[in-house]
């Protein structure tokens, strides 16, 4: 799975963008979006997903259930 940003909650503050270890976050129409193909849920990088940890509005960065959980490939 990957994380996704709930557009209606995003304030466009950009705090998440530089924190993402995978450069998966970019701005689109004044809010930010996560590229699910690049998101690793921060597994292997940090203990907690950086976008979730830094976002000022709770429940804005959430698991995108459309994708399977990310797994570290050998």
């Amino acid at each position: 799975m990957a994380y996704e940003i709930v557009a209606s909650l995003c304030t466009g503050c950009c705090a998440c963008e530089p924190e993402c270890p995978n450069e998966a976050i970019s701005e689109k129409k004044n809010v930010f979006v996560i590229d699910p193909a690049k998101c690793t849920e921060c597994i292997g990088h940090f203990d907690e997903p950086q976008c979730v940890a830094v976002c000022p509005i709770d429940h804005t960065c959430v698991i995108d259930k459309a994708y399977p959980r990310y797994e570290v490939t050998a």
Binding site: G12, A15, F46, E48, A53
Partner: protein
């Protein structure tokens, strides 16, 4: 005398020729610096302030109360990201009619910000200070913040640069701040005890983790103190902002005051909590109240030992433009700036205008000193509310005032002690009956209100509330007038014509000022 520059703060800038003509009229009292001191004895430089410090703050409206009548600031909102969460802040809320820190209508790129600064500086020649104050934390957006400084320093080197931070990443950036010649940094410090801090800061983002509870405040306070010490060592002037939150840190702020003073902070600005429920902040939603005017003043008075207290802060937006207390940001939207093909930086007009302002300031200070010459000794102090639109003069109509400046006057002369926002009494040419009680509540601790003009109805109602409406000082300097009024008042008390009584408390308006666009 008539104000020579009164019209500038409203809309247009006078053509250069007119300015130069006016400057010629004021010759003989310029402010060409010699050894860091303004000529004419004292363009307001306090006796206890080192000349090099005065040189840094004298044209900075946020660092000098005296300067804030004459000089304007602007904030550019290039720094939206933040690295901490505060219970008095809600980043979701964004409204053009709101004026609070953290609120902004649109964020800018450093390039847009730089163009905006040039456009504003050319239209408002008294704009001397460019600050980056968010809407997040400038040092949580270091690339954008410093790029903006770089662009502005290149094209408009006379503009002072400053920034405001929560301090968490401050120690990492002190060298860069120094490198850009930023001589003013504001740190918001609400506590020096993590036990207190846990009720103000739910979390911080630190070393790739969200840290909560006491631990968050412990890290924050350590970083703030370290950052302050480093700035002091680097010779950067530091102002400390503290939000007064009754029941949480009101008693504790005296300790904060001692802690920051001992680490070299230059100025302490204790501000009232803004916590209206409609702002959607944690404090707003859980009913945390802000202080009353008297509570705020008592705390500020108690901290005013050897440290300067700032009482003229308007808690402005992260994209505010203009004199403190006014906001002209609507005139300079990104759309309007983008439409301008090329902005020419008009350094000559700015310099000419600022020379004129300096002449006015010297005149104002001299007038105050002259008025103080024969003040009687007494314990009596009175408070006076003043309707002004700048230049240190009584030059606003009662009905047009969106705020009143508050002066305390006694044997030691006059002192600016605060300001009160009010709803416009007069809208569309007629007085709104229902707004008068709120105006009276806002200045209820004052014995008199100085205005340029006032209608018959509000005059009678103010009298009924025990506040003396005074229009005979129209266009005169505020402090000179306040001292004259006090002399007359004291003479009447001595002659037993009136009995002096202290007045009650006053409200600090929660819904913040917004420009009547």
């Amino acid at each position: 005398m008539q104000s020579t520059i009164a019209s500038v703060s409203t809309q247009e800038v006078k053509p250069l020729e007119q300015l130069l003509e006016k400057i010629a009229d004021h010759k003989g009292c310029g402010t060409s610096s010699e050894g860091g001191k303004a000529s004419c004895g004292s363009s307001g430089g306090p006796v206890d302030m080192a000349p090099e410090v005065w040189e840094k703050v004298k044209n900075h409206p946020c660092y000098s109360e005296e300067a804030h009548h004459h000089y304007a600031r602007m904030h550019v909102a290039v720094a939206p990201a933040c690295n901490i969460q505060c219970n008095y802040c809600n980043r979701k809320y964004d409204c053009a009619n709101e004026s609070r820190p953290g609120v902004v209508s649109e964020k800018l790129t450093p390039e847009q910000a730089s163009k905006k600064v040039l456009a504003v500086a050319s239209a408002i020649p008294q704009m001397t200070v460019l600050g980056i104050a968010g809407p997040g934390d400038p040092l949580a957006n270091p690339a954008k913040t410093f790029k903006t400084f770089e662009l502005i320093a290149k094209t408009a080197p006379d503009i002072k640069l400053c920034l405001s931070t929560n301090g968490l990443s401050l120690p990492d950036h002190v060298d860069t701040i120094k490198g850009f010649n930023v001589d003013h940094v504001t740190i918001t410090i609400n506590m020096v005890d993590p036990e207190v801090g846990q009720h103000i800061y739910p979390w911080i983002f630190w070393k790739n983790k969200r840290v909560t509870g006491i631990e968050a405040s412990r890290i924050l306070t350590e970083r703030q103190m370290l950052g302050l010490e480093m700035l002091t060592a680097a010779g950067v002037l530091c102002k400390i902002n503290s939000v007064m939150i009754p029941g949480i840190n009101d008693k504790h702020l005296a300790e904060v005051n001692r802690a920051v003073k001992s680490r070299g902070a230059f100025l302490h600005n204790i501000m009232p909590l803004i916590s209206a429920p409609e702002h959607g902040t944690v404090f707003g939603l859980n009913g945390q109240r802000g202080p009353t005017a008297q509570e705020l003043k008592a705390l500020q008075d108690s901290c005013e030992g050897d440290m300067n207290m700032m009482r003229h802060c308007r808690q402005c937006r992260a994209d505010a433009v203009g004199l403190l207390g006014e906001d002209r940001s609507a005139e300079f939207t990104t759309e309007k700036i983008d439409e301008m093909s090329e902005v020419v930086y008009d350094a000559a007009t700015r310099k000419a205008y600022q020379e004129l302002v300096e002449a006015e300031r010297s005149e104002k200070v001299a007038a105050k000193e002259a008025a103080m010459a024969d003040l009687d000794v007494t314990d009596i102090k009175i408070m006076i509310a003043v309707a002004t639109k700048g230049q240190g003069r009584v030059n606003e109509h009662f009905g047009h005032a969106t705020e009143f400046q508050i002066y305390e006057v006694g044997s030691n002369g006059s002192k600016f002690v605060g300001h009160r926002r009010v709803d416009l009494y007069c809208q569309g040419g007629y007085g709104e009956e229902e707004t008068l009680p709120s105006v009276v509540n806002a200045i209820n601790d004052c014995h008199a209100v100085f205005v340029a003009k006032i209608g018959g109805c509000p005059r009678d109602e103010l009298k009924a509330a025990g506040i003396d409406p005074v229009d005979r000082f129209a266009d005169e300097f505020i402090e000179e007038s306040a001292i004259s009024y006090f002399k007359e008042y004291f003479a009447r008390v001595c002659a037993r014509e009136i009995v002096h009584v202290d007045r009650g408390d006053a409200d600090i308006r929660q819904g913040a000022y917004s420009a009547a666009a």
